[in-house]
């Protein structure tokens, strides 16, 4: 079932957009749902979020942030006119479409992509939505789109310092997110906080929100393989029960999530992911001038 790439755009900070022909998904997808993409015969199945879609024309737009082998290989090797091998979905449950009142929807780094369709829909049904994007400069994922779609869009950018590794970036991300959220919670009244991003950052922001007692929802991103409820890789403990994020989520009440467990589980394959990326980079170098 090949899915043609209709357009591809590369923006700042390793941000790549793909407009993909996938009518079965376009017809059904709701904000909060995701798809599983497989791009290469020896490739993995990765969850991505449709940002926009057209039910009549049958396409969806996916945005990736290049950080591992698969996203890099997609950015390097796929051209408009090529095909993704698989786009399965839509998967997961739609975000609850209710009138909450005033919502703070936070996206950490590429998590903002997933916030977009949800925040937009919340605003459309009469909520007052503020979105907050915390990310290293110059990442401005979807800035114009957000400005058009919600009441207020805040970008909390930070400059990368020479010599920083992933750890330093993560620490700065958490520091910025926490201080900006604190400021917003202190100065205004909120009915709901929503967050998408790396588990460690989600946890740190939750610790702040908890002090104010504001209801909070989080879309979780544990590792997934099939994403149809079959493998259990994405299991999370919520309210003391084991849930599968793929079919019970991805959205959960942040107050009930076992955050430490989630943080530990999402990091489990990091050394192997690094090995895959390094092997790929070596292959690229080996090819010399070809690239």
């Amino acid at each position: 079932m090949p899915y043609r790439i209709l357009e591809k755009k590369e923006l700042a900070m390793n941000e790549v957009w793909y407009k993909v022909h996938a009518p079965h998904v376009a017809k059904k997808v709701q904000p909060g749902q995701f798809v599983i993409v497989r791009a290469f015969p020896n490739g993995e199945r990765i969850p991505l979020t449709p940002v926009t879609w057209d039910r009549e024309e049958g396409w969806i737009e996916l945005v990736t942030f290049v950080r591992g082998k698969t996203t890099m290989r997609m950015a390097n090797e796929l051209k408009p006119g090529d095909e993704l091998l698989n786009v399965a979905g839509p998967l997961g449950n739609p975000a609850p479409m209710k009138k909450f009142g005033k919502i703070l929807a936070i996206g950490l780094i590429v998590g903002i992509v997933e916030v977009f369709p949800i925040a937009k829909a919340w605003q459309e049904i009469g909520n007052d939505v503020t979105t907050l994007h915390v990310a290293p400069n110059p990442m401005v994922l979807l800035r114009e789109e957000f400005e058009e779609a919600v009441s207020r869009h805040i970008v909390e950018g930070f400059d990368l310092q020479p010599g920083w590794g992933m750890n330093e970036i993560a620490q700065e991300l958490v520091r910025r997110a926490v201080s900006r959220v604190k400021e917003l919670l202190e100065s205004e009244h909120w009915d709901l906080v929503f967050i998408v991003g790396p588990a460690g950052g989600q946890k740190a922001v939750f610790e702040v929100v908890k002090k104010y007692g504001i209801p909070m929802e989080a879309d979780l991103h544990p590792i997934m393989v099939d994403a149809t409820g079959m493998c259990g890789a994405c299991r999370v403990t919520v309210g003391g029960e084991v849930k599968f994020a793929c079919i019970d989520g991805p959205g959960f009440d942040a107050y009930k999530v076992d955050w430490d467990e989630l943080v530990a589980r999402t990091g489990f394959y990091a050394p192997m992911e690094r090995l895959a990326l390094e092997t790929y980079l070596k292959q690229l170098q080996g090819k010399g001038g070809e690239q």
């Binding site: 393989v225 099939d226 079959m230 493998c231 890789a233």
Partner: protein
């Protein structure tokens, strides 16, 4: 058939790769019969008459076993013809013989009541079935048969949707296509095959074999839509608007977990996840393939069914020291005899009467040991015929850096939430014709059984195809 023959008591063995060689890779363990060996084994068959043959009665899809074995004997001077005619006999009841010949629990089915068993070894029916399928595939004989069959199919002009491309769905699809229906399979994963692809390892059922069985279905005109998750991409109600009947063969895909502290520690896999990474995603070839799997030095597999053996033997192939821990005794192991023997030959240790009560992790949230309660067998037996067990109050802790939970599965949860679909304890309820509470929607395999075997699922697929054919014939006649 009247020829008097000498009884040959001993089975003709099938060549197998030595254990020390095969634990180093994922290539197939059993090499199967050659034509010569197959004929020698076939000669042992007493050729019981069709109405009596206990093997046929023991087969869930009632293959005419003496019939196909007889064809091998009848045309022993012309191997191609012998195989072609034997395959034709098998195909009348079973469209996936290369698979069933490898994975059926023959000792509990066809071979169980084999008359030869009274005087010697039972006939090796499974390996003969596999031989016919493999020889036919290698020589293109199956294609030839299909080629003769396809033009004779009379199109019915009605459409059937099949949910799930596993053993039940593939069988139903094949049968319905042969009857002239326009069949479309909806499959959630990126490859059709279901448990044959993601669950059963390459060394027991090569994926190229499954691929070729599926290719035959395509040649029969079956359309397969991968990446379609019924319940999400499309609902059963929507399918009913487009199709004249629906068959649910969505299997038992939800892994059962152990309700014990530490179950979500890193390094603890469900068998489904472990096997999916290894088989479907080919993690044994990481980093050439992108999906990783973590196999530590010491692996404990919990459970003793076929899935547990598959997981244990797969882990062994990564070089790990593997122990199977089972809460019951050796006599109640539910895996096929051949799998248990292979596992033992490959150096897998078995620990009986151990019931896990806690998973112990290190400071990084990774499993390092499993605490078990020692169990003892009681005289009483449960509904499944297994000895009941009770705790002894004594505990033992075994070290492990990878744990695989293989204690069973529940039916797929996405489908059973369909409005109007009657479900009891997670299983779809069907009548004697395998029709569900929704008219025109049929179901079979693990979706109705909870958890069973490939061949029982295939038996259901066949039975459902027959029932769907009757249902649609009536519909045609009403509309005529």
């Amino acid at each position: 058939m009247a020829v008097k023959r000498k009884l040959i008591k001993e089975r003709v063995p099938t060549p197998e790769r030595p254990a020390e060689e095969r634990v180093k890779d994922f290539a197939e363990v059993n090499l199967g019969y050659t034509f010569e060996l197959a004929v020698r084994e076939a000669e042992r068959c007493l050729q019981c008459p069709y109405d009596y043959a206990p093997c046929i009665k023991g087969c869930p899809v009632h293959i005419n076993i003496p019939g196909f074995i007889g064809k091998l004997l009848e045309h022993r001077d012309d191997p191609d013809r012998a195989v072609k005619e034997a395959l034709n006999v098998i195909w009348a009841c079973n469209s996936l013989p290369a698979t069933t010949g490898r994975v059926c629990p023959q000792e509990d089915q066809c071979e169980m009541n084999c008359v030869m068993g009274k005087v010697g070894d039972k006939i090796n029916i499974g390996k003969l079935e596999r031989f016919v399928a493999d020889y036919a595939r290698e020589k293109g004989i199956d294609e030839e048969l299909l080629f003769e069959m396809v033009p004779k199919i009379e199109k019915k002009g009605q459409r059937v949707a099949i949910i799930g491309a596993g053993p039940a769905g593939l069988t139903a699809a094949g049968e319905l296509a042969k009857l002239g229906y326009d069949v479309t399979i909806y499959e959630a994963l990126h490859e059709p095959g279901g448990v044959l692809m993601y669950g059963i390892p390459e060394f027991r059922l090569p994926k190229s074999v499954v691929g070729s069985e599926i290719e035959k279905l395509r040649k029969l005109g079956v359309r397969i839509l991968t990446d379609h998750v019924v319940g999400k991409t499309v609902t059963i109600e929507e399918l009913l608007q487009e199709y004249d009947a629906v068959f649910i063969g969505s299997g038992a895909g939800t892994p059962r977990l152990i309700d014990a502290p530490g179950i979500n520690l890193n390094g603890i896999y469900t068998a489904n996840e472990f096997l999916t990474r290894v088989n479907l995603m080919k993690a044994y070839r990481f980093p050439e393939y992108d999906t990783p799997v973590y196999v530590g030095r010491k692996v404990i597999v919990i459970g003793a069914g076929n899935t547990a053996m598959d997981a244990a033997r797969s882990a062994r192939r990564f070089g790990a020291e593997v122990t199977i821990a089972y809460r019951r005794g050796e006599e109640d192991v539910s895996a096929r005899v051949e799998e248990v023997e292979h596992a033992k030959e490959e150096g897998i240790k078995f620990e009986f009467f151990l019931n896990p009560v806690e998973f112990i992790g290190d400071e990084n949230g990774k499993v390092k040991a499993v605490k078990f309660e020692k169990m003892k067998a009681l005289e009483e037996r449960d509904a499944g015929g297994k000895k009941k067990i009770a705790g002894t109050g004594e505990y033992v802790t075994l070290e492990a850096d990878t744990v695989i939970i293989a204690i069973g599965k529940h039916p797929n949860r996405l489908i059973i939430n369909t409005p109007g679909l009657k479900v009891e304890r997670g299983k779809i309820v069907v009548d004697e014709n395998l029709m569900t509470s929704i008219p025109g929607v049929f179901a079979g395999g693990d979706a109705i059984r909870g958890e069973a075997t490939v061949i029982l699922a295939m038996g259901d697929g066949r039975k459902a195809a027959k029932a769907i054919h009757e249902y649609l014939t009536k519909k045609r006649e009403e509309n005529a």
